[in-house]
């Protein structure tokens, strides 16, 4: 049995190889999901329960506080839950990345002539593709719960693009955290930290109903920019716009994720190199 020989990659084709490697790594994570579909269900549990709790249990009360009927509150709520789901993805990414560091698969990949960034970019690509599936399911459920968009295909696609951009940024946060924590167990314990990030934002409760000292940070939460922007793009009701961010929601919904990625990606790469110590 003779082993195949491999053509050495030339400098010019390096980028092509990095892209190919990224796809191979991403496909690995997608295979995981096919073999363990319950993981996707687990991720969707929080937003689905949130629709039930906030939409129907507290919906009328929150709607009354906003001086709108419960149905209109649910129109307000769903875009917030879309963004919240993107943020909760940080937990999955962190745990999965930490498990890879622990399990030795990362070591093996580091001993291969593959591009090191592909290990990280593949994870991020898979996250984004899975997020599309999550959003499709959530939007379907949303329609069942009485949510709908009131705009044309252009703005709807733009809203989806903003959500995906947010998920990509969250993915890089998760990758960096996964490389920093001591293991998947630790990652699970930190998971609760996602809650304030997801809730102290213009997601389920409009910021003007929060205590004054919280409204400021909530407005500047990266999630808020995305939520305000997509509410507008979907044509869904929004709370009274009070902050500078809310007035510049679309550019901020692009700027925040890009800034987060620009910070986390190089840090994650440096950390990956640092694993060799």
């Amino acid at each position: 049995m003779s082993a195949p020989t491999v053509v050495a990659a030339s400098r010019s084709s390096r980028l092509a190889w990095a892209a190919a490697d990224t796809w191979v790594v991403a496909r690995r994570h997608l295979w995981h999901l096919l073999r363990r579909p319950d993981e996707l269900l687990g991720t969707l549990m929080i937003p689905v329960l949130a629709v039930a709790m906030f939409g129907f249990v507290f919906g009328d009360a929150l709607g009354a506080a906003m001086a709108v009927p419960g149905t209109e509150y649910r129109e307000f709520l769903l875009p917030g839950l879309f963004a919240l789901t993107m943020a909760f993805g940080i937990g999955n990414t962190t745990i999965a990345t930490a498990a890879d560091v622990r399990g030795g698969v990362l070591d093996r990949m580091r001993s291969l002539p593959m591009s090191p960034v592909a290990f990280l970019a593949g994870r991020s690509l898979a996250d984004v593709l899975v997020a599309l599936v999550e959003l499709a399911i959530l939007m379907g459920l949303g329609v069942l719960f009485g949510w709908q968009w009131h705009s044309g295909p252009g703005p709807v696609l733009a809203a989806l693009a903003l959500l995906i951009l947010l998920r990509a940024a969250c993915s890089w946060v998760g990758i960096l955290l996964g490389l920093l924590v001591s293991g998947p167990e630790a990652a699970m314990k930190y998971f609760a930290l996602v809650f304030p990030l997801a809730m102290v934002a213009d997601t389920v409760v409009p910021t003007h109903l929060m205590p004054g000292w919280l409204a400021g940070p909530a407005g500047w939460n990266p999630l808020s920019a995305t939520v305000v922007a997509i509410r507008d793009l979907f044509g869904n009701p929004a709370g009274p716009s009070a902050s500078w961010v809310a007035d510049h929601a679309v550019p901020m919904a692009v700027a925040w994720p890009l800034a987060i990625t620009a910070l986390c990606l190089p840090l994650a790469l440096a950390r990956l190199r640092g694993l060799a110590r």
């Binding site: 049995m1 003779s2 082993a3 195949p4 020989t5 491999v6 053509v7 050495a8 990659a9 190889w17 190919a20 490697d21 191979v24 790594v25 496909r27 690995r28 295979w31 995981h32 073999r35 363990r36 399990g103 030795g104 698969v105 070591d107 093996r108 990949m109 580091r110 001993s111 291969l112 002539p113 593959m114 060799a276 110590r277």
Partner: protein
């Protein structure tokens, strides 16, 4: 015979590695492995074998000294090293959720094989390591031995110039172990250099043309298996003294017959002593034992094996926590 340093496939000179708070894991490791040979790395737990392999495979950076693999420097040119090596680490590095076939195909693609070639290669390796029946089951349902075999198969995806195997046959049944040994022999015959660590001295004896015995981060002895055995002396006589006979008296007469100081193990009631002086000594010995009333089936003559080398030349397992 010592390897010419210039054409060595693996060359480590004074390699040092220090883990914060743990003392030196490698303390001036020297290693030279000739191309196309199987070289064994032996040593007690914590001696630094895995650290050595990980440094040579570019997974861990060295703190001092230098190392070259397949002619490329591991510190300054890790990418070139990676293109020429295969590695099966001490713990299987597999994706537990994917099937054996998916693992092989994925790593083959990451070795930059085209899709069709990757599929073919995966099929061939599954066949070679007797994993076809389980090929499409998730790895987490594999037995320990199947996992090891798959891990080894992954490390053989590409015809590497240098292959690192960290305890390749730990946890394998005799048949699988033979399979692994045959694979290693075939690879060496086709020109691959293999560096393997092992706790099975028989494995080192049968597979390796040279052995480096490590202790506390450095090589304490190096040579072919027979050279190493010669270092700990010739054959030894072992006598089991039946209960009811005087151990000290038996030791005294053995000592007189062999002109050598015997070692006495009172718990096992065994006496052992080096045998020198050829047949004459054995004649005297036979008479002495007879007079002492010991039966021949209590007596055995044993050539030293690598166990003796190991026990004689290394200081035993290193306890964690103690400063070294």
């Amino acid at each position: 015979m010592s390897t010419d340093r210039r054409d060595a496939a693996i060359l480590a000179e004074g390699v040092r590695k220090h883990y914060p708070g743990r003392g030196a894991a490698l303390d001036g490791l020297d290693l030279a492995v000739a191309p196309g040979t199987v070289h064994g790395l032996l040593g007690p737990n914590g001696a630094g074998k895995t650290t050595a392999v990980r440094i040579l495979a570019t997974l861990v950076r060295l703190d001092g000294g230098s190392a070259r693999v397949a002619g490329c420097d591991v510190a300054s040119d890790p990418a070139r090293v990676r293109a020429r090596i295969g590695l099966a680490g001490q713990h299987a590095a597999l994706d537990e959720v994917l099937s054996g076939r998916q693992n092989l195909e994925m790593f083959a693609r990451l070795h930059h094989l085209r899709a069709r070639a990757a599929r073919r290669r995966a099929g061939a390796l599954l066949e070679r390591f007797d994993l076809e029946a389980a090929a499409d089951r998730p790895v987490r349902n594999y037995s320990g031995g199947m996992r090891r075999r798959l891990d080894l198969a992954v490390s053989l995806i590409r015809g590497a110039d240098v292959l690192f195997l960290d305890e390749p046959s730990t946890g394998l049944d005799p048949r699988s172990r033979n399979e692994v040994w045959n694979a290693v022999r075939e690879l060496a015959a086709s020109g691959t250099t293999v560096l393997l660590t092992t706790q099975y001295l028989e494995e080192a004896d049968r597979l390796c043309s040279r052995i480096s015995l490590m202790d506390r981060g450095r090589v304490v002895a190096e040579g072919s298996p027979s050279e190493l055995k010669a270092r700990v002396g010739g054959s030894r006589l072992e006598v089991a003294v039946p209960a009811g006979r005087d151990l000290a008296a038996a030791a005294g007469s053995i000592s007189a017959a062999l002109c050598a100081a015997p070692e006495i193990d009172p718990a096992a009631r065994r006496i052992s002593a080096p045998v020198r002086g050829g047949v004459g000594a054995l004649g005297r010995l036979a008479r002495t034992l007879d007079e002492a009333g010991l039966q021949a089936d209590d007596v055995s003559l044993r050539r030293p094996d690598l166990d003796d080398v190991f026990l004689r030349l290394t200081a035993g397992p290193i306890r964690e926590g103690k400063g070294r």
